[in-house]
Amino acid sequence: MSPHPPLHLTASGAVRAALASPGLRLDLGLAALHLRSRSALLAGQLQRVYPHFPFEPPGDFADLHVHVDPGAGLRRWIRPQARFRCDSRRNFEPFPASHALPLVEWGSNWLIGQRFNDHLLLHAGAVERDGRALLLPAVPGSGKSTLTAALSLSGWRLLSDEFGAIDPASGEVRPVLKPVALKNRSIDVIRAFAPDAPLGPAFPNTRKGTVAHLAASAAAVAARHRGARPAAVILPRWSDGAALSLQPVPPEELLPAVGFNAFNYRVLGARSFDAAVRLVRQCPGWRLTYSRLDDALRGIDQLWRDLVPAA
């Protein structure tokens, strides 16, 4: 057990003060984020969408250092901003001050995708059950995050809604545990699917429309340093009105799909090729088309039962 209390049980004043200085440590599993900001708004938003992460000091070493500051001069008062910086560089355009959380989420995801070339980083949802991982690689707009969110609310452990981080040495999928970012209609879909789902505030008018974040569960947070060997790869696609369809994908078709849906496939060269070959040799692949979440979950559940003996 961590000696540190979870963020949602910590007094908001203490979180606010720590976030301002010396900063908060958010250990995501694959990488630890050192986050600093004077924004009281951001402190409250973090408590809502990272509730089960321990409230801990930055420590000696973090992998990502993110600082969110308000604009200078008049900007502090007139249409205040949230500005992102990492290691003295501003990598992004500023957001309105109220949107500090989506800025931190997108910015840190971008940094992870750039930096962690010690892993093959698939653009994929990743969940675990019975000790084995299920990977859901997909292009944006396929409903990957929605499906990952629904699975994480249905007995699966969330590893990540964005990164299928594969350790080339062991072949294991490592958690990159952050809140699931739901966009536009997905927010209502998940609210309807699980009325108690721990959703954070909705942020309208972002680059990607309205965004709301689903918090990771206490169990997922406790297990964020535990990877899992992959057991299956599902290529999901949401399509309005479509009947459920789960078609096997042969390895020779799965391999290019894996490579195509990776952030750093080319950078890793032979290493990513070897890791991807190993993945498609070990894991059967399916193409999932669906319009109703319940159908998709039932299909995946059945498939999983045939594939992975329950522990």
Binding site: H65, H67, S88, R115, D118, V267, L268, R271
Partner: protein
């Protein structure tokens, strides 16, 4: 900026990787953040790897070194591939084809060829063959990025290179040069002198500048450029070029030739600044007589009195938890003004800036 004189001692680990083994985890964190921003992290990784010391790095730091090393190896491989394809389009038997800067270091197999993060491929051909080269490259798919008639004239008449070219198969911009500095600049170089001392390279078809000229080119590139901010990696290159060709003796006669060649090419001032700053941050062991000769022909005391602090301010890396301070911004602005004044004579500069300013205005509307 840092007032602590030991704040930059970590840079010595680029040349002597063993120094890094004494770092605490907190020091690793600081140096990784700085080195990544300065594009020196993969260099540090390759140095530790070559010395067989990577295994002794604490695991939280080691993974960052390995990840950046992976990125660098991919980019360097892609650069090699691009260079080998490009030379097939050119006619190295008809005219010399020369690799410049990073690509030349990689082609020669120099220690500083490892751990780079190249973003463009810089090559040089004689001015008489510039059009031939461009036509040949265009035939194989290298297209100029769109420029208007004015930009074309700028590049053709006043610049030392053509507009950058892109190719759908390559991740790099190709910069085709006929000189290392603009012909109309206050400091201009006789390209014939460079071409008269070319050296073969292990990459078929490609030649490189003489080692002394490679160092002088790097110095000119840093100290006569528009944006020298935080370009410590250029100093790291120069430090290692001098150690390899001079101190380790890979180029016999390197030290004796350096001061007169700098004077001949008109690059005494950038060389003097290079020696000053490599000594300050990298302890580069330049023989004392060479140092004295360069100092004697370099900028006078009055020029040094403003150039050295200005470059000191812009080169000094900002602490990773802060944003660049006002002194650095101000120094960078002054050096930009100096750059413009030395790049184009005033009669060309004022209309040029006026045009660029009007155009920038149009684009923001």
């Amino acid at each position: 900026m840092s007032d602590d004189p030991t704040a930059h001692r970590w840079l010595l680990a680029l040349g002597e990787p063993r120094q890094a083994l004494g770092w605490s985890l907190a020091e690793w964190q600081r140096h990784i953040r700085l080195a990544r921003r300065l594009r020196l992290l993969a260099r540090l990784a390759e140095g530790l790897d070559a010395a067989g010391l990577l295994d002794q790095v604490p695991p939280p730091a080691r993974r960052h070194l390995l990840a950046e090393q992976q990125l660098s190896r991919w980019r360097v491989d892609a650069l090699r591939w691009a260079a080998l394809r490009v030379v097939q389009a050119l006619e190295p038997k008809a005219y010399p084809c020369v690799l410049l800067k990073g690509a030349a270091y990689v082609a020669q197999g120099l220690p500083i060829g490892r751990g780079r993060l190249p973003s463009d491929l810089d090559i040089l051909v004689p001015k008489a063959h510039l059009d031939d080269a461009q036509v040949s490259l265009a035939k194989t798919g290298w297209d100029e990025l769109p420029t208007d008639a004015y930009d074309q004239r700028y590049y053709r008449e006043w610049s030392h290179e053509l507009p950058p070219m892109r190719h759908p198969h390559h991740a790099y911009e190709l910069d085709l040069h006929h000189n290392i500095l603009p012909p109309v600049a206050r400091t201009s170089v006789d390209a014939g002198l460079l071409l008269s001392r070319l050296q073969p390279s292990p990459w078929p078809g490609w030649q490189v500048l003489h080692p002394v000229d490679q160092l002088l080119h790097s110095a000119a590139h840093l100290f006569l450029d528009a944006e020298p901010r935080e370009r410590l990696r250029d100093l790291a290159d120069m430090d290692q070029l001098m150690r390899h060709f001079g101190v380790a003796g890979a180029c016999p006669g390197f030290w004796d030739e350096l001061p007169p060649r700098a004077a001949q090419l008109g690059l005494a001032e950038p060389l003097a600044l290079a020696l000053h700053f490599t000594a300050r941050w990298f302890d580069t062991p330049v023989p004392e007589p060479v140092r004295r000769r360069v100092a004697a022909s370099g900028p006078g005391a009055l020029r040094r009195a403003w150039l050295v602090p200005l470059f000191g301010a812009v080169l000094d890396p900002t602490d990773p938890d802060r944003m660049p301070g006002l002194p650095q911004e101000a120094a960078a602005t002054l050096l930009l003004a100096r750059y413009h004044l030395t790049r184009l004579p005033l009669r060309l500069l004022l209309p040029h800036l006026w045009r660029k300013w009007r155009k920038a205005g149009d684009q923001t509307l």
